[in-house]
Amino acid sequence: MEAESRKKALHYFFEKVVEPLGFKFTPDAELVDFLLEQEVMLEGKHGIPFCPCQPIRNDRARDMQIVCPCIPFHREHFDAIKRCWCGLFVHKDVIDPDSLPQLPPKEAGRE
C-alpha cells in the first residue's frame, strides 16, 4: 500500500479510536500530515505505527505503550495537558493547539 493510502487508512482508524476517549485530530493539518507520514514510515520499518516523538526501547511491554494512538496508556498525563505527546490528538474542546505546552508528566497540571 502506498504511503498516501496508508495515511488515509490510519486517519480513518485513529479517528474512530480517539473520539470515544474525548480526543480529536489537532486542527493543525500540516502537523497531522507530517506525523502520519512519520508513522507510516515507522510502520514500514517496525511493522507498527509507533509515536514519532517517543523512544522505541526494544522492550515489548514498554513499546506497546507508544503505539499510536497511545492515549489509553497515558490517560492522566494527556488529559492534564489536553494533547497527546506528539500533538497529533487534542481534547475535543481545543481550538488553538499552539496554546498547549508539551509538558512532561511531572510538570503536567502545574499551570
Binding site: C51, C53, Q54, P55, P101, L103, P104, P105, E107
Partner: protein, 81 residues
Amino acid sequence: MKKVTLYTLSTCPWCRKAKKFFADRSIPFTYIDYDLADETIQRRILQELDAAGATGFPFAKIGDEVISGYQPGRYASALGS
C-alpha cells in the same frame, strides 16, 4: 555561554522546532537523534530521560538544567535571556 545538548528523534516535529530555536538564535548546540544512534548511546539517553522523569523527545540539557518537551520559554530562561 551555557552548553546546550539536545536529545531528539529524526521523526519528531517538536525536535525540529527545538533545533530551530537554538539555530535561529545562533546558539551553539549539539544533538543526538536517538533513533539514529547506536545501542550504547540509546541506553545512555534512556537512563538520562528516566532519571529526569521524561517520557519523550525533545530533551534539552542547558547548563545544569534539563527540559523535557518543546518549551521555548524555558529554553530562554535557562539560557538567561
